[in-house]
């Protein structure tokens, strides 16, 4: 099997001096510093020889230290369990870099985001429109640069408008949003339709930026960010805090006690159960099957109560800190956990058995919203969306974290490529999650739940962590800094990767199917839109209402 050393050797023999530095900073995480003009050849070569999966790119402002910006392109070698981070340092005077989107389509959003937030201009990008920042954000103001104070409010420039795509000839435009009607979240889809058939679509989102990364980089300390990270998502918050904690622990080399790992695993799987049942309810609600919505949410409720009992809160558990967890699961509650999850298993199986033969479901879900394996790979989709298209990825297996390397479970993969396949993946995962929790409770060792954490975490270290959220793979990249706070904290939520395939799966479909097709990705807009400083948000909304009033 390929090792990090072999990857380094191959790159060094092929590119010689253009590889400036290659270092395995954390076990199985290879950081390679490449000369700027060698970026495209290196990525082409990697793509041809190993075809690693692109995760995300992140830009760091190190102008004060070295007068440069560092752009990191993260890749995953799934079978070999290796992270590869290609880093390029570019001059602050001319922050231009070749775009990799023509080679890897999945890098589209993340390059545009880097441009918006740090001001790294991707040359030859096929779609260089603004992505993350608000419409009226002034040009040339980059919030994630270090000279931008976290509480600065730039003046509004209402004349700025992000151009939407021109509709193809002979088509009509149907707007959905900006408040997405089904999921009650802000997103704007502009559908170009010919009759009932959708020809193309355009997406404008990121209406609910909260500037989390900026506050994490500039104001909060390591342990405060755990709670901030948990609030990135309203459904699967615990995965973000786990992912962040693991990334810091890996970077700093902090040993976490085994019991803490098991507790994290149990909480993560409880979260997966309730998230998947929630999704099932919403998905069938979208297609008007409210009986199943009621039943799946009824089944879900005991999990919430259980979490409340374990952690002290229904949803935001607040259990994670750097070095371990804050609350133990007392042995007295084991029986109750088993009782509750067994009841859920029984009831879920019953419901699955009842609805599997429901032909109205088949009509709405089968052969609708087809995401072919090829497109899914190109766009770098993750989680159930990818697994429903026959892609065997699951970071619980590929990049084990918490106690996942110690438990046995099956990765649910379906070959259908349609909404039905994605549904089946999620239902099977729910049942698997119950198995994992049972195993954990059986095997969980006694011992401390908090490891020893040094007074100050050393600066200049970096690490990546992937956590398999119910929606897919969340990625946190942490670079440690002075004053006991991270220098750079980069978050990529799973929907960020998945939502990029929406135009492909909507294309050719019917208007009536759009809500369920988008719903089948289990999108979580608040997750996706966690970054950039938008204190001017209220201002933007006011402007919209004024315009509307004038129109009326």
């Amino acid at each position: 099997m390929l090792t990090a050393r072999e990857i380094t050797e191959t790159l060094k023999t092929k590119f010689d001096k253009q590889i400036i530095k290659a270092e395995e900073k954390v076990s199985n995480q290879l950081f390679v510093r490449v000369a700027p003009d060698a970026l495209i050849p290196v990525i082409c070569f990697l793509n041809k020889t190993f075809s690693p999966r692109f995760l995300v790119n992140a830009a760091t402002d190190v102008v004060q230290q070295s007068g440069k910006y560092v752009v990191s392109y993260m890749f995953s070698f799934d079978r070999e369990k290796i992270f590869l981070c290609i880093q390029v340092a570019i001059d602050a005077a001319k922050p231009d870099i070749d775009s990799i989107t023509p080679i890897i389509a999945g890098a589209n959003w993340s390059e545009r985001e880097t441009r918006d937030l740090v001001g790294i201009n991707p040359r030859n990008h096929p779609d260089p429109r603004r992505l993350v920042l608000a419409d009226d954000w002034p040009e040339g103001v980059y919030p994630l640069r270090k000279d931008f104070p976290y509480n600065y409010k730039p003046p509004s420039e209402p004349q700025n408008k992000v151009p939407l795509k021109k509709p193809p000839e002979g088509t009509r435009v149907i707007p959905i949003g900006p408040f997405y009607p089904v999921l009650e979240e802000p997103a704007y889809f502009k559908l170009f339709v010919d009759g009932e058939t959708i020809v193309d679509c355009d997406y404008r989102g990121f209406y609910s930026h909260r500037g989390i990364e900026k506050i994490g980089d500039s104001k909060l300390t390591y342990n405060q960010i755990c709670f901030m990270a948990e609030r990135i998502c309203g459904i699967c918050g615990f995965i973000h805090s786990t992912c962040y904690c693991e990334a810091v622990e890996r970077a700093a080399g902090i040993e976490v006690p085994l019991r803490a790992h098991y507790i994290r695993t149990i909480m993560l799987e409880l979260e997966r159960i309730h998230s998947h049942l929630l999704w099932l309810g919403i998905a069938v609600h979208i297609i008007g099957f409210d009986t199943l919505l009621m039943q799946s949410w009824r089944i879900r409720e005991p999990v919430m109560w259980l979490c409340e009992k374990i952690s002290g809160n229904r949803k935001t558990y607040g259990m994670n800190l750097i070095g371990g967890v804050r609350r133990d699961i007392p042995s007295g509650i084991y029986d109750e956990i088993i009782r509750v999850i067994e009841k859920i298993e029984r009831e879920t199986t019953e419901v699955i058995d009842a609805v599997m033969g429901d032909t109205s479901l088949h009509v709405r879900l089968k052969n609708v919203g087809i995401l072919t394996e090829e497109v899914a790979r190109d766009i770098c989709t993750v989680g159930p969306t990818a697994r429903g298209s026959n892609i065997h990825i699951d970071s619980r297996v590929d990049h084990p974290y918490a106690a996942y390397d110690l438990v046995d479970f099956e990765v649910a993969v379906e070959t259908g490529c349609d909404i039905w396949a994605r549904t089946l993946v999620r239902l099977r995962e729910t049942i698997e999650a119950i198995k994992i929790i049972k195993q954990c409770l059986l095997e969980m060792p006694d011992g401390p739940i908090m490891g020893e954490v040094m007074e100050e975490i050393p600066s200049g270290r970096e690490a990546i962590c992937c956590v398999e959220a119910p929606r897919g793979e969340a990625i946190h990249y942490v670079q440690t800094g002075e004053d006991n706070r991270p220098y750079r904290w980069k978050v990529r939520a799973p929907t960020y990767a998945n939502l990029q395939c929406a135009p492909y799966i909507i294309k050719g479909g019917q208007i009536a199917d759009v809500p369920i097709i988008i719903g089948s990705l289990d999108p979580c807009y608040s997750c996706t839109e966690r970054m950039a400083v938008v204190d001017v948000r209220t201002g933007v909304e006011k402007i919209y209402t004024k315009e509307e009033i004038i129109k009326r």
Binding site: I225, F227, G312, A354, V355, M356, D358
Partner: protein, 143 residues
């Protein structure tokens, strides 16, 4: 199709009514619930440890004059994480099981305490005395 629908009907009938009668009947949260916080002013020494760890910055510390410190808990910002309870060396902060916090007046969700501190002879700012007994020795303590 027909059998499937029949099964669904059975599941619904079997489940019956599951909603709780809350708010007509109280619904007490389980033990260990993290609700509204309570401060025991007699125990607080004004060390401001809670303010340092508070993730949303809901605890404000201001020195009013050279020997009085005001600590204000803005529960409107509180996320009930319980970090203050965890780090308090005197066990002065406790999370209760109260969760019905909605109110018309913001003052209901603000807890302000003022603590008499020692005065530093060099910078004239207030600080925590080394020993709780030292505090009582300072003139003006019983004001």
């Amino acid at each position: 199709m027909f059998i499937s629908k029949l099964k669904q009907v059975l599941i619904c009938l079997k489940a019956g009514r599951v909603t709780l009668p809350y708010p007509y009947e109280p619904s007490p949260p389980p033990e260990g619930f993290r609700g509204k916080l309570k401060v025991d002013i007699d125990r607080c020494t004004g060390c401001a440890g809670c303010a340092n760890v508070c993730p949303p910055g809901a605890i404000e510390v201001t020195d009013i004059g050279k020997d009085w410190r005001r600590i204000q808990f803005n529960l409107t910002n509180c996320i009930s994480c319980g970090r203050c309870e965890e780090v308090c060396p005197e066990k002065a902060v406790k999370l209760t099981d109260k969760f019905e916090l909605s109110t018309n007046t913001k003052e209901d969700l603000t807890v302000t305490i003022e603590i008499y501190m020692d005065t530093c002879q060099r910078c004239a700012r207030c600080f925590k005395p080394e020993h709780p007994l030292d505090k009582m020795m300072v003139t003006g303590f019983r004001q």
